[in-house]
């Protein structure tokens, strides 16, 4: 197992190099100039422009700039934001818990509902529940996320007034945030109603962000279960006189989990990186919103550093998924 982990870690090296290069190049091929953007409508004199360019190092050749950036990355220095002047590293880890909290909640929702739904659909293949569920999943999968979010806001926040429209917590509450996770911090603060307020703020973003993974997981679980239910070992379990419930939930599901874990891993990756729409709609102060803002400001260090950190997070999630394979199906561990 240790060898397996080490060999997987080794494959990180080329990926990491590639991501560093691409994130560096990506923001620079976009049209626009950070100095002009910073100057705003007043414009900037040529003299001042050259001075700033020299200060940021733009006057030097591209490969020198990359080398500076890359050696910095290796030393754990992602540079400072042009706009806030704060280290990218600090900004990322201030905002990342918000994204992580939302992504985790969305993922938990998707798994808790998606797995059983897929199993039940597979067992009742072709019957009403199966058809109803699979068409619902298709709708959920194909629905534009912003439209779905607005619809929920209109109904639940607007008409019914059950949930807040945006943010992570009511403005009434103020407490220190050592972990950055609102659910934990609000509970730790001991303030009355704070935890409940945090939950109410999470509900709609969680549903919106969890919809697509939910649909994907339900469909994937169903197809994996259908395949596994036709296997010889399921017949063996029946020949042993095991109950259908036991066969479906233990003998079959464990085997069906492999492809499901794959899509869960992929979904976590896209959630971390792709919560942008949801975060923007619900004014959720996470990295998605931060990245979008930084791209508009041509904030080079933030964009390249943020992209790199997101990529590393996704790589870690993928590694975890690979470990899980081995845990669930011992046959894979051997390879």
């Amino acid at each position: 197992m240790l060898n397996y982990v080490l060999s997987r870690l080794l494959t990180f090296v080329p990926t990491f190099l590639g991501v560093t290069l691409i994130s560096f190049a990506f923001i620079r091929v976009l049209p626009g100039d950070p100095i002009i953007v910073m100057a705003g409508e007043r414009g900037v004199s040529q003299e001042r422009y050259d001075q700033l360019a020299a200060q940021f190092g733009f006057d030097r050749p591209m490969y020198v700039q990359f080398w500076d950036y890359f050696t910095g990355v290796l030393q754990g220095d992602l540079g400072n934001s042009f706009v806030t002047k704060k280290p990218v590293w600090d900004e990322f880890f201030t905002l990342f818990p918000a994204t992580l909290e939302l992504s985790l909640c969305a993922m938990i929702l998707a798994i808790i509902l998606g797995l059983p739904a897929g199993v039940i659909a597979a067992v009742n293949r072709g019957k009403f529940f199966d058809r109803a569920l699979m068409s619902t999943a298709l709708v959920g999968y194909s629905m534009p996320i912003f439209w779905w979010a607005l619809l929920l806001i209109i109904v639940f926040s607007g008409n019914l007034g059950w949930t807040p429209v945006s943010g992570r917590i009511d403005l009434l509450y103020y407490f220190p945030d050592p972990t950055g996770f609102m659910l934990i911090d609000s509970l730790a603060s001991g303030q009355k109603g704070a935890f409940w307020s945090a939950i109410r703020h999470l509900i709609l973003p969680t549903i919106v962000l969890g919809t697509i993974p939910l649909a994907v997981i339900a469909r994937q679980t169903r197809s994996a279960m259908l395949e596994v239910l036709g296997e010889d070992y399921v017949r063996t379990a029946r020949a042993k006189g095991m109950s259908p419930g036991r066969i479906n939930s233990i003998h079959a599901l464990r085997n069906a989990l492999i492809p499901v874990i794959t899509v869960i891993g992929l979904s976590v990756g896209t959630l971390l990186a792709g919560a942008i729409l949801t975060e923007t709609i619900f004014s959720w102060p996470g990295i998605g919103k931060w990245m979008v803002d930084s791209i508009f400001r041509r904030d080079y260090p933030v964009v390249q550093g943020g992209l790199l950190l997101i990529a590393v997070m996704v790589m870690i999630v993928n590694l975890t998924v690979d470990m899980l394979y081995g845990l669930i199906n011992p046959k894979i561990r051997k390879r």
Partner: protein, 325 residues
């Protein structure tokens, strides 16, 4: 009364192109302590009839029978819950492919203990002791260590031994072995067959051996039932069957054995088993039978009496008068 008694069992599969009759009016009896071999080509319905009896067929199958009893249980009217108490305990089955018949995600020990726990309600400790005992009984060396192995870590022969250990875990009254040696190489085949026979001797269980290998039949079985295209076409004790087969199909099968060949070219049976669309009107074997006449092609023969091996044939072979003439 026999342990297993089946009368006029038929199984139909609903397929996209209509109904397909896989088993057609089969009678079968198995007594305690007896070894019955069911022989036939692929698609002759030998496995399906036993799977139907176990209740293991998919939902596309319709099972009908005049009578189907096992050890006092009426398998036609038995509830699903009641059947689960019998299947796996008194009525066990092992399959053709040991590698794919064991669950790859669980250790073989877990899989065998599951049977013990669910059917006998043994404690964790008792389960373990019994599992070790069973592994020893089926000849798995180093049982303590092997219990924590996964199926992919063992050979096909070892896995089949695990399957057998699992099947006999609750001392079944009847064990159905569906081509238990087909996927194994020849030396292992003999070992597995010896094991099954010795288990029959020790436990006194009935054994149904489904096979297409006449060599296996000759070595192991006591009574043989020959199936063709879903019908039972002949049944005899093993010696008389080999000496004087009554149905032309049985005779042709025996002629095709390399051990019995007298000519340079091995005799074969021309043609194929009829499928869903080319089922003949008369005797199902008539298109391939060298003795068939117009009557054979028009009418379905009824089984002959027990002295002629219940042969479904108008003109059974090796009758006394034929031998005389």
């Amino acid at each position: 009364m026999s342990l297993l008694r089946i009368r006029n069992l038929s199984v139909d599969f609903a397929t996209a192109s209509g109904k397909f009759r896989a088993v057609d009016g089969v009678d079968q009896d198995v007594n305690t302590g007896e070894i019955l071999a069911i022989v036939g080509e692929s698609g002759s319905g030998k496995s399906v009839s036993m799977l139907a009896m176990m209740g293991l067929l998919p939902w596309t199958a319709t099972v009908t029978a005049d009578e189907m009893t096992f050890d006092g249980h009426d398998l036609l009217t038995i509830s699903k819950r009641e059947r689960r108490r019998v299947v796996g305990k008194d009525l066990a089955m092992i399959f053709q492919e040991p590698m794919s018949s064991l669950n790859p995600c669980f250790t073989v020990g877990w899989q065998i203990k599951e049977t013990l726990r669910v059917h006998l309600g043994l404690s964790r400790k008792a389960c373990h002791a019994r599992a070790v005992e069973l592994f020893e009984q089926v000849g798995i060396p180093d049982p303590e260590r092997r219990l924590s192995a996964f199926p992919h870590q063992m050979s096909g022969g070892m896995n089949q031994r695990v399957m057998i250990a699992m099947a006999i875990a609750c001392k079944p009254k009847l064990l159905i072995a569906d081509e238990p040696t087909t996927a194994l190489d020849v030396t292992i085949q003999a070992q597995i067959l010896d094991l099954l026979t010795s288990l029959r001797d020790d436990n006194g269980m009935g054994l149904v051996l489904i096979t297409h290998d006449m060599g296996v039949v000759a070595e192991t079985a006591e009574r043989v039932s020959v199936q063709y295209a879903g019908q039972k076409i002949e049944e005899q004790p093993v010696l008389p069957l080999f000496q004087s087969p009554h149905h032309p199909y049985t005779a042709a099968l025996l002629d095709a054995l390399p051990e019995r060949a007298t000519e340079k070219h091995l005799p074969t049976i021309p043609g194929m088993v009829p499928g869903q669309f080319d089922r003949p009107a008369g005797c199902l074997f008539s298109p391939r039978c060298k003795f068939a006449n117009s009557k054979c092609k028009a009418e379905q023969p009824a089984p002959q009496g027990p002295d002629l091996g219940h042969a479904r044939c108008f003109y059974p072979l090796n009758t006394d008068e034929r031998i005389a003439s």
